[in-house]
Symmetry: none
Amino acid sequence: MPDNPQKEQPRRRQARGERRIAQLLEAAASVFCSTGYTAASTNAIAREAGVSPGTLYQFFPNKEAIAIELGDRLMHEMRETYGEALAPVDPATPLETAVGAAIDRFIAFNCDHPVFFALMHGPDIPGRMAEEHDALHATLLSRIQDLLSSFLPDAPDAELTRTAQMCLGVYKAGLELILGHEGAERDAYVRELKAVLIRYLEPLVGDRLGIAPGATAGNTP
Amino acid sequence: MPDNPQKEQPRRRQARGERRIAQLLEAAASVFCSTGYTAASTNAIAREAGVSPGTLYQFFPNKEAIAIELGDRLMHEMRETYGEALAPVDPATPLETAVGAAIDRFIAFNCDHPVFFALMHGPDIPGRMAEEHDALHATLLSRIQDLLSSFLPDAPDAELTRTAQMCLGVYKAGLELILGHEGAERDAYVRELKAVLIRYLEPLVGDRLGIAPGATAGNTP
Amino acid sequence: MPDNPQKEQPRRRQARGERRIAQLLEAAASVFCSTGYTAASTNAIAREAGVSPGTLYQFFPNKEAIAIELGDRLMHEMRETYGEALAPVDPATPLETAVGAAIDRFIAFNCDHPVFFALMHGPDIPGRMAEEHDALHATLLSRIQDLLSSFLPDAPDAELTRTAQMCLGVYKAGLELILGHEGAERDAYVRELKAVLIRYLEPLVGDRLGIAPGATAGNTP
Amino acid sequence: MPDNPQKEQPRRRQARGERRIAQLLEAAASVFCSTGYTAASTNAIAREAGVSPGTLYQFFPNKEAIAIELGDRLMHEMRETYGEALAPVDPATPLETAVGAAIDRFIAFNCDHPVFFALMHGPDIPGRMAEEHDALHATLLSRIQDLLSSFLPDAPDAELTRTAQMCLGVYKAGLELILGHEGAERDAYVRELKAVLIRYLEPLVGDRLGIAPGATAGNTP
DNA sequence: GATGAATGAGGATTCATTCAT
DNA sequence: TATGAATGAATCCTCATTCAT
């Protein structure tokens, strides 16, 4: 005798439903890719999935929820594909190798799942991240932070976060350029992105080992 | 009824028109800032400007044109404010100084004209830059390229472009973080952005002079 | 697997069906109460009942049918609770007593079954009573008419009907006010409603007995 | 340079706009009458008015606003037609005459403006009056209260309100019956309604003059 | 019986743009 | 020029009802 209609029932789903959800997410991915997240309409997604709008709303309360679920599944798949870490945590690994590998993996993943880029696209107004992007962003951020912390175990948390934010931002920017080009040009941008990140992180890591890699770029005087 | 209607009316009309345009652009800037470019509606802009939608369309054929004109004027003002170059072209200037100054100027300009960020926001779909952003992007790019070329006179054009694209991308990413924070945190992000760019460019410049990179890139003089 | 499937299964099925129906009606009552009949959705009723929409339609062909059945059961329960008559039919009973008792009962019933009000709510368009309300209305009307006829045995049928309609209408109006208030205010409205009806009926009844009306109907003791 | 888009500008309107508004309100009245307020859709109203949905929304932010404006205009017209008072305020006027006249006027007004009934229709859930009906209800209530206070100058305010609420409720109920019938039957219901109200009010007024109209009708023995 | 999936027309509302005055 | 009116397709979302399993 439930009095509270609000309460989320765990909703037993049928196999057909699961298939529909997958189909809808696929359609959403396709639409997000071709029009961008903001311009994508739920009707367009339903149409692309070959179902009626009502069906879409049986599984998702709104566009945001679709994006969130899509992001969740993507992160899940990323984890399954590449394991918990994006790169070897062995601090002995040269930074260049680690970063290079991480970027290669990220890029490969992005090319396999082009919707990733659309979902990663930041807020139109700085500081006002919508929930749909926030979850994805936060997850990515924490993965990057984990990766960094293995190289910078002594860095204070705030700094680590800042560095991770910077890296993610730079990565997104680089990705945009990479995806916007093809062939040799694309490869060149990949190299460029790696260069930016490696050079950014190198001095920080160097500090860690007590190696003065030449001086550089600390935050503190 | 002015003394000399023949001569003055046409002028007046234009003067009034100019005022209208300025008024509309100001309103557009305000609306773009508070809702983002995509979500901004022409009706909202007209309302904000205190004119009717019809009036808006008397001066601009569509929303895109408003953004383009706004971008043009911003670039123009930038040029007027900071001169043709964003930084001293003297190649003797240490890179750190030059980049630091350029970024400081860019950021100052952005804070004075917050709409700049809204207009700079990249394409939702990589490779498909809308015309409204394209013009601004191209202009910025070429200014950066100019700046770079004074440091890297021997670099091939394609490489220069690539580096400029990278710099611009990184700058946008950094700006987003900067604008998304306040106070000390914001300052920290400013330092971080400078670090990323300086470290990225250092080796390129160093190569040029045969100097082993290894100096540079602190925040404090 | 029961011992005697032949005999018990059919029964069981019906028993289960009855339970389902009761469950659905209870849910419907709850939803009708909280949103009103018009705004109530069959999906919401099914959800509230903890069953699927399909199940609901196994027992009721449409929303209307639910309301009708609910109304029927309410009338049935009313009869069971208060007997065939709403008040003693003894014409010797003072009108005041009879009417007061009838109203008290009606109100008590309404408070026990708040959905009653939702179902009683008249037609949005005069003269076009929907079937769902019509049945309930007709039943109530005839009960009131019966009650009246014991006091006005000589009144022509048309007049009796008219008086009954008036009484029912007034009662509904009063009920709305009563339910819309609480505590002492509510009690005051109950007294007011009784006053209206008693004063309305008094002369009619008085006529019957040749008594010059002149007793009764103040608000204050 | 208005910063606040919320602020309601007084909106200079053109003559055409005024005509459209009138046309839309007329259409709304028609639709409210034929389907009831709740079931009426803005699209249907626009269609009835022969304009596009967008046009409707140029003048009204939503359905509620249409109802409110319609109600306002009706009350305005009522005042213009019948003057500030619904009936002579002369306390010497026999109650019967005054009430009879007031009801006749109300009914005449309702017959001229059948939408009045649709707008008067109370809340689906007692106590939760929607804004659109509330305004109309409050206005009517206060007019009735004014009328009553000329007959019951000594009654405390709370009682006056209660009596007015009762009268309004009874009136609505009666109106429903009246509009639901025609010809002689309708007339009979008009008489009946008058009887209810006059008999309800008579003792109250009688008290005022120190005339014991016979005693009572209290709740308690 | 029971379930959840599916429907699709219809709901309110918005918006870039055009038009008559 | 300037205005406010007008458009109509498109937006998101809901709901009574039916269907396959």
